[in-house]
Symmetry: D2
Subunit: 147 residues, 4 copies
């Protein structure tokens, strides 16, 4: 799927005593990029929450290739890897904005929980949101499976 | 009032590219120390939340005296400065644990809100908690109502 | 002095279990706004570091007026309050971007240290940077005091 | 290899608007546990830095199993998975301290860089530290050079 690009500055408070961005902050940047992607593609995170759902992280992974520093900006490509109606996963590619140097590759996987913390199918719990996700990801609308 | 002492290590991720702890983290340490104080003095924060209240920060202030570094531990003295039943304020003194060098002085002030975000008097909303706070702060029990 | 405006989204990871932005993050936003101000006004922080200096925070203060939430953007007005050649202080006014609601007022004060951690006068240590600060703050160029 | 146990409280500022600990903080807890492990096993991180080296993260991964909340403590088992002299990797198992519920599984991999940012072999750059690592990990001392 086509990535969405999210750009942001590196903040001073994101650096550590090694002089570059602390590795944990890339996990936070992934979230920023994911939220941006969902908004750009027409299924904002806020709508999920307005529907009474949350979307916790099941798994996250990052491979660090080079170090981002204060004063730079990063350019994050983010795209959805998979969406099943009960789970969604994303991939991330972080580059230095100016030179294009690869900084980090990432991946995250998420499920959906209702207000009592039970896993739900978006298709059943919030069908309009499910349709928006599929449109946003350019997925074929699934036939409604005899229901 | 007598301070309570809270100690903790400095974490690597709390440092910045200057090589020492980023100043925003002291504000977080104040919170850790405050939560510790409230537990030690018999009015844990969790009870406030169990009673349906939250306690947002109204004001915070820090004066930085010297720099804490990775590998060190800090020793934070925390004490309540004032409690009125609708507001509580705390003071903080952060020292290097080993040498006692003063790192930071702080102050924070807090109110209490109910579930709809309205300011409340603890005395009215959670009288048992109010009594626990007063006992914990060694305050004279206020005569009930007739004042 | 005329404020510079800095805008940014509220990130999900900046919220806490109260449902709004954790108060410590405003201190970090002040830093973002300050770095933006220094760049906009022609005396970027990176030049200070390139000159071998750092600029630690001496004092920070925030008054919280209302709560910023995920999904919102904030608009931060930042301006320099005072610059003496050895110290600089800033003020901050954080508003909700959409409605203009006041979220937080802040202030920070900073000194300048050389590579060995000694306080320095910018005027003596980095005179070109001192001149850039004064131009950026629309301060009268000080006569060179018989040196 | 035998794990080392590291325990700590969950801090209020580590929670997010979902009401539990933000997933990025586990990555920070891994670092705390790793630093604790290295100290306990006789090869403290500070010695590596005193030798002019840094140890950036090459890869990190977390699988989230359940949600830690404010008011709880966590108990993190940390152990070294592999050490080659140029790389070291760790594994992490985070449990609720009280009930033992599994919260998160993790893994991180690290290399070693010298002051100019070049990857180095600890065995060559800091042989005494290399020996301490091997002792701490109960690894057979490698026969010197002739292999």
């Amino acid at each position: 799927m086509e990535p969405v690009v999210y750009e942001r500055q590196v903040y001073y408070y994101e650096t550590d005593r090694m002089g570059c961005v602390h590795h944990s902050n890339y996990i936070r940047w992934f979230e920023e990029a994911r939220v941006h992607f969902m908004r750009e593609r027409g299924f904002p995170f806020e709508e999920l929450e307005a529907g009474g759902l949350v979307s916790p992280v099941l798994q996250v992974e990052a491979q660090y290739k080079s170090m981002a520093r204060f004063g730079e900006a990063v350019r994050i490509e983010v795209w959805a890897e998979d969406y099943t109606g009960t789970r969604i996963s994303f991939r991330y590619r972080v580059r230095d904005k100016a030179a294009g140097t690869l900084r980090c590759l990432g991946r995250s996987a998420h499920c959906f929980l209702n207000g009592t913390g039970r896993p739900v199918s978006i298709k059943k719990a919030l069908p309009a949101y499910d349709a928006a996700v599929r449109r946003g990801l350019f997925m074929e609308e699934q036939p409604e499976e005899e229901t």
